[in-house]
Subunit: 501 residues, 2 copies
């Protein structure tokens, strides 16, 4: 069947000088009816002077915009270059191919390469509404993506975003899937960069934890770096630890993550595609992925981790990444710190050789895996090489170089002064610490103000496997705000964050 | 685990004098971080002067609202009675029970009575975001509702809306599930009301067809009636044909229907609950449901219709409705008219006894089923009784009474003057008409301007089963606008709307 032509109308623009965050237009109910569209439908808006067009989602009003007019927010107005009271041509558009693909997935069918590409492209270009994008996410969550769909999604995310090309083949990266505290990244990047690799680490800010790597690194140096700056620092220092949000690497992914936040769902196929696409876009070739397993982290058991590991390796290969997935301990906290400044200070202390614990161990293990994967040393020797670099002081030197290159001034852990507003929590009984509930510790740290208040958080005084006597200090809560400190202490008293046997 | 208390902040209001259409507040990014919330999270806002509280969905900004302030749209401001520059207490709220229930359904689990009630209540009170509400709809679409869940949903919709109580037990109603053209309702209501029943018919406007019953009735009389007016007209005349959108009967249902429109999904469990809840809320006891079956309507085959019929009867019984579901022909158009004025004029002609065709037949059949269901006559005699009333002229008399009571002036089909802007479409070959594609006819009528342009639409000149010769007029397209007429003619020429053999 041939395409039926749509009726179009000339409407006069009224510009709302507000960012709507998406491509939206406001029509008077009379004009909407005349055009045969309703709220949630889409129209094409054409500036007849420049011939530029934009898709826009229709919102209806009886008051904000009069008849024969069309309300445009900044995004659409800028895109087609119109100012107020110009005439634009408005034409209803029939369903986008991406909308039909979403419907197909809702109906339980498999999507092909092209359909997934259309969806990702239209999310990137703001042509799909939040309703459509979240319906896609729900469908993938409920029905799943098979391997082919996951590969299509990964490729589509890469193609619909910027790509960094360093022109060399020793670019490596690491990712932790669901890790909570401890900033292994801040130890791994300087170790790996010391060995001559490029590791352009772009990290997220915390959504649900006490600190994201970007939050912790920000205590030492600015992390809100431009695309060009990240490229040049990597070339100069071998490593960078930046916030990835402004990079435009796979931007559709960032939009989806934001949208699905209130539902707390993370469809596996989307997560795999998200991780791998960001690494590929950042120019990496060899990627080590840390899969912490534990009751209170994202991956609940070893079988789930193994299944995920296989998929990550398989899909990675299809998009040109050599991936190694390593299953690690997600039961015990990674070191004693929860919160940006506490975690940053603690990572610096490890680099300075002042302490060596499970976090330092894990960091060397992961850095070692990168070495082995990238052919820097033979299998089985990576961890030792990483440890040597850490102990030699070269990693600390490299970290200070990176901090400086990013515009920071910190050169020693002693420069990070912890908050004097703090309170100790004591053991209620004597015995052996067999477990911490990482989820609950995170809640307490967040009550104290982390991650927004950089110096808020928790420092454990005793780790799993240690004995405590009744009354010993188990942990100290730090805060920047008395009311928040009280709430965090209250939370610690009300919750079971520790198991003593 | 006891509930952890949340940190709250006092923020100064900034009122945006715009209806947001939902409960939304705008926080500066700094305050959002300080409170530990992000876009899509929810807060409770308390007016300390009145102690009124409102839930609000957080939106973040760096420009529209400064630090220590909170932007409120009219809905929230009105709900808690604040004006600009007042201090309000803002507290993050942990997940609503309804949010957790939606997540449970996304995970493929069955919901209980209470969980479904919470979801419907929170949608009604605008406490759930569009994202959450559409995720619920997608989950129900993909996983389905079992009978118990459908009953829970129906009850929840009834409880969370207004209910009309006529204080009598002869209140009846009818609903068509997926019918396209022809306004059987406008024939059935006066027949049934003539027999002494109450039939308070609230109808929708068209979303995808050439006319909804409300659109067609509006050609004869105002349909935008108040709750009280609908009640009083029903008491006076026995019947009313009004637009249901302003009635607040099961308002959550209207919100869900609007939201899911861009996805073109209608989860069966939600549809059943929607139809039955609206009837129960309107005070009905006996309801006849028309299930047209055909390739180009909602219900594709008889098995599907039978399955649906059983469910409608079963669920209806559980909410106190005696339901009869009748499977009808959805292949042939219901009479020759598509479009508000054309369908209204044609219904009047049937009432006037000027024509009698498949639409008149079907209307008598459905009215007869209501009679039998409500015990007005014995099984097998209903249709004859309905036909007698129609032929006696009493139904026409009643219709004129209803039109007048609603504020209309039309008393005869001859007062509806068709548009002189029209064009005939001719048969391309000779033969027997075996089928019309109702979907395509609808598209042509919509191209011509229906339903917004009341006098736009299609009038078939030949029905299925008739013979045509090449060059005969098959149908006439009516329009109020030359460009639309051209587009509709073009659409008719490009599409296969008829099968001639």
């Amino acid at each position: 069947m041939e395409k039926i032509k749509s009726y179009s109308q000339m409407l006069r623009t009224k510009i709302f000088k507000i960012q709507a965050g998406k491509l939206v237009c406001v029509l008077n109910k009379v004009d909407a009816a005349e055009l045969g569209v309703m709220a949630g439908d889409k129209v094409e808006i054409k500036n007849l002077r420049t011939n530029l067009v934009s898709v826009a989602l229709v919102d209806e009003t009886t008051t904000a915009v009069g008849e024969n007019s069309i309300g445009l927010f900044i995004e659409v107005a800028d895109k087609i270059g119109v100012t107020s009271t110009e005439l634009v041509q408005v034409t209803p558009i029939q369903k986008l191919a991406s909308n039909e693909a979403i419907r197909k997935k809702l109906d339980g069918n498999k999507l092909n390469d092209e359909e997934i590409f259309e969806i990702v492209k239209d999310i990137t270009e703001d042509k799909l509404s939040d309703i459509e994008a979240i319906a896609f996410t729900c469908a993938v969550y409920m029905k799943g993506f098979d391997l082919e769909e996951t590969i299509s999604m990964t490729k589509a995310l890469i193609k619909n975003g910027r790509i960094i090309d360093f022109g060399v083949d020793n670019v490596v990266d690491k990712h932790s899937l669901g890790g909570v505290n401890g900033r292994a990244t801040m130890i791994i990047v300087p170790i790996v960069a010391s060995a001559g690799f490029y590791m352009p680490k772009t990290s997220s800010r915390s959504i649900t934890s006490a600190a994201g790597t970007a939050d912790a690194m920000e205590v030492l140096a600015p992390v809100n770096l431009s695309f060009e700056k990240i490229k040049s620092i990597t070339k100069k220092c071998g490593g960078v630890i930046a916030w990835g949000g402004a990079m435009d690497l796979a931007p559709a992914d960032d939009k989806i993550i934001k949208l699905r936040h209130p539902l707390s769902i993370d469809p596996e196929g989307q997560v795999i595609a998200s991780v791998l696409a960001k690494k590929a876009s950042a120019g990496s070739h060899h990627v080590v992925i840390d899969l912490p397993v534990g009751e209170n982290v994202k991956i609940k058991n070893k079988n789930e981790a193994l299944r995920l590991a296989k998929k990550l390796v398989y899909v990675g290969e299809k998009v040109g990444l050599e991936v190694e997935a390593i299953i690690t301990d997600g039961v015990n906290p990674n070191g004693p710190a929860f919160g940006p400044a506490l975690e940053a200070k603690y990572a610096m202390q490890i680099l300075e050789g002042k302490t060596f614990d499970n976090l330092a161990q894990k960091s060397c293990e992961l850095a070692g895996s990168i070495f082995e994967l990238a052919g820097y040393c033979r299998r089985g020797q990576g961890e030792t090489r990483a440890l040597e670099i850490l102990k030699s002081g070269k990693a600390l030197e490299k970290m200070i170089e990176i901090i400086k290159a990013q515009g920071g001034k910190v050169t020693s852990s002693t420069q990070i002064i912890l908050s004097s507003l703090n309170k100790d929590i004591h053991a209620e009984k004597s015995g052996l610490i067999t477990e911490y509930n990482i989820k609950t510790l995170t809640k307490i740290a967040r009550c104290a103000g982390a991650p927004a208040n950089k110096f808020a958080g928790i420092l454990l005084n005793k780790m799993v496997g240690e004995n405590v006597s009744k009354g010993d200090v188990i942990l100290t809560i730090f805060s920047e705000n008395e009311r928040k400190l009280d709430l965090a202490v209250d939370a610690a008293n009300k919750t079971e964050f520790i198991t003593i046997k």
